[in-house]
C-alpha cells in the first residue's frame, strides 16, 4: 500500500479526500474553528506517523481516521489549555452575548443533523458519549439516571442511526 510506505502523493490525496469530513467532526466536538484546525493538523501528523499500525482487518481506513480525529478532539476538550480558553470564551460571550457565532457553522452537518432527529433524552446521551467522550458510567452520574437506562437509550439511538444512514 502506497500510504504505508509514506508516499507523499498518496498522503496528499488522503488529505484532499478526507480532511473536510474529519474537520467537520472535529469542529462539532471542539466547537472552535481555530482549535479544530490545530486538532486536524495533529490528526494528520498522527495518521502519517501511525499509518503502519492501521490494520485493514479491523476496519476501513476512514473509520480508523475518524476515530483518531474524535479521540484527538476529546483529548483537546479535556486539555487544560482548552478548558481555560473556554472559560475566557464564556466570559467574552457573556459580555458580548454572541453565543451563536461558532454554533451556526456546524448546524445541519453530519451528526448534528442526525442528532436533531433523535428524541431529546437520546440526543443528550449521544452528545455526551460521542461528542464529549464520556463513558456510560460517567453519563449515568452526570444525568443522574440508572446505568441500564443509559445503555438502553444509547443502544436505541445507535440502532436508529443505522436506519437514518440508509
Amino acid at each position: 500500500m502506497a500510504l504505508k510506505s509514506r508516499d507523499d502523493q498518496a498522503f496528499s490525496y488522503l488529505y484532499d479526500h478526507y480532511s473536510g469530513s474529519l474537520y467537520s467532526i472535529i469542529l462539532q466536538i471542539v466547537k472552535s474553528p481555530e482549535i479544530a484546525g490545530d486538532v486536524l493538523q495533529e490528526v494528520f501528523i498522527n495518521i502519517w506517523r501511525k499509518i503502519e499500525s492501521y490494520d485493514p482487518l479491523r476496519g476501513r481506513l476512514f473509520t480508523w481516521m475518524l476515530n483518531i480525529s474524535r479521540n484527538a478532539s476529546i483529548d483537546m476538550l479535556r486539555s487544560k489549555g482548552y478548558i481555560n480558553n473556554q472559560k475566557n470564551q464564556e466570559i467574552t460571550d457573556n459580555v458580548y452575548g454572541s453565543d451563536q457565532v461558532t454554533q451556526t457553522n456546524i448546524d445541519g452537518i453530519g451528526l448534528t443533523k442526525f442528532l436533531e432527529k433523535l428524541k431529546p433524552e437520546q440526543r443528550v446521551l449521544i452528545e455526551l458519549a460521542y461528542l464529549k467522550g464520556y463513558t456510560h458510567e460517567e453519563i449515568a452520574q452526570i444525568e443522574d439516571i440508572p446505568l441500564g437506562t443509559v445503555k438502553t437509550r444509547i443502544r436505541n439511538a445507535l440502532l436508529q442511526l443505522r436506519v437514518y444512514l440508509k
Partner: protein
C-alpha cells in the same frame, strides 16, 4: 447470543464509532474473526458512516495542508536519507518484519550449527569408512589364505580317499640318522603317479635335500628331490610304473644319481 442477535445489539455501531468499552471491543474483534456475518455488518455500517460523512464536509483552513506537510517534511529530514527515497525495504523494521528478521537470524544460526554438526558427523563417517575398508581388505586376504589352505586339504583328502591309491609306509631304518622318522608314499596304481607325505623327518641342513628313490628290480631309481617347507601336504613327484620299494636319502642339494646308502632315513616295501 447468536451472530444475528449480536449484530442487532448495537455493538457494531458502538465499535465503529469508538463508543464501545475496551472489553466490548475485544469481544467484538473476536466475533468478527469468528463470524463473517459480523464482519459484513461492521463493514456495511462503516460504509454508511463514511458515505454520509464524506458528503458533509467543511473545508478546513487552506494554510493547514502546507503546515501539515512542512511538519511531516521536517520529520522526514530527521530520518536517514534512505527513508526519503521511499524504499520500503529501508523503512525501519516494524512488527511482523521484525519477527521475520529475528526468525531468519535464528534459522541462520540453527543452520550453521547443523552444518557444523553434519561436518563433524561426515568426518567421523569417513574415518569409520576407511577403517572398514582396511578391515575388509584384511578379511579378504585372510579368506584367500584360508581358501588356498582349504584347497590343499581338499586335494590331500581326495588323494587319501582315492581307492586306487596304494599306500607305502616308510618307517625309520634302525641304522637311520633319525630312527623315528616316517614318510608315506601314495602311489596311484592306475596313473602310476607318486605322491609323498612327510610324516616326520628332521629339517635338513641348508646345503642338503631329501631325495625319494624307487627300488625297481633291485636298483634305485630317482623319483625326485623335495623340500620340507610345506606343512602337511602331498608332494607330487615323478611317475613310477613299477617298484618293489621306496626309500628316502639325504643328498647334496639338487640330488644325486645314486643314493648315499648311509644317509637313508626311511624305507618301505610295496605290498601286494
Amino acid at each position: 447470543m447468536n451472530p444475528q442477535e449480536y449484530i442487532l445489539s448495537g455493538i457494531v455501531e458502538s465499535y465503529v464509532l469508538g463508543l464501545a468499552s475496551p472489553e466490548d471491543s475485544a469481544e467484538f474483534e473476536r466475533m468478527c474473526d469468528a463470524h463473517h456475518e459480523v464482519r459484513a455488518a461492521r463493514n456495511a455500517f462503516e460504509l454508511q458512516v463514511e458515505q454520509s460523512l464524506i458528503h458533509q464536509k467543511l473545508e478546513p483552513p487552506r494554510v493547514l495542508k502546507s503546515r501539515i506537510f512542512s511538519e511531516i517534511g521536517m520529520e522526514k529530514d530527521k530520518q536517514p536519507p534512505g527513508i526519503i527515497a521511499n524504499t520500503p525495504a529501508l523503512i525501519p523494521r516494524k512488527g511482523f518484519a521484525r519477527y521475520v528478521a529475528a526468525a531468519s537470524l535464528i534459522m541462520l544460526l540453527g543452520s550453521v550449527l547443523l552444518n557444523l554438526y553434519l561436518l563433524d558427523q561426515y568426518k567421523k563417517s569417513i574415518a569409520q569408512y576407511k577403517e572398514l575398508i582396511a578391515t575388509q581388505t584384511q578379511i579378504a586376504g585372510a579368506n584367500q589364505v584360508m581358501q588356498t589352505k582349504l584347497e590343499t586339504y581338499e586335494n590331500a583328502l581326495g588323494l587319501m580317499k582315492n581307492p586306487k591309491m596304494a599306500i607305502v609306509k616308510m618307517p625309520g631304518m634302525p641304522a637311520s640318522p633319525a630312527p623315528s622318522s616316517m614318510a608315506t608314499v601314495y602311489w596311484n596304481t592306475e596313473s602310476k603317479e607318486v605322491y609323498l607325505l612327510v610324516n616326520q623327518l628332521p629339517m635338513p641342513v641348508p646345503d642338503k635335500q631329501y631325495q625319494l628313490w624307487a627300488i625297481v628290480n633291485g636298483h634305485p631309481v630317482d623319483v625326485g628331490i623335495f623340500d620340507m617347507d610345506k606343512n602337511f601336504s602331498f608332494i607330487k613327484l615323478k611317475t613310477i610304473p613299477k617298484a618293489e620299494a621306496f626309500a628316502i636319502t639325504l643328498e647334496k642339494k639338487g640330488g644325486s644319481t645314486t643314493p648315499t646308502m648311509d644317509a637313508m632315513y626311511v624305507m618301505g616295501k610295496v605290498t601286494g
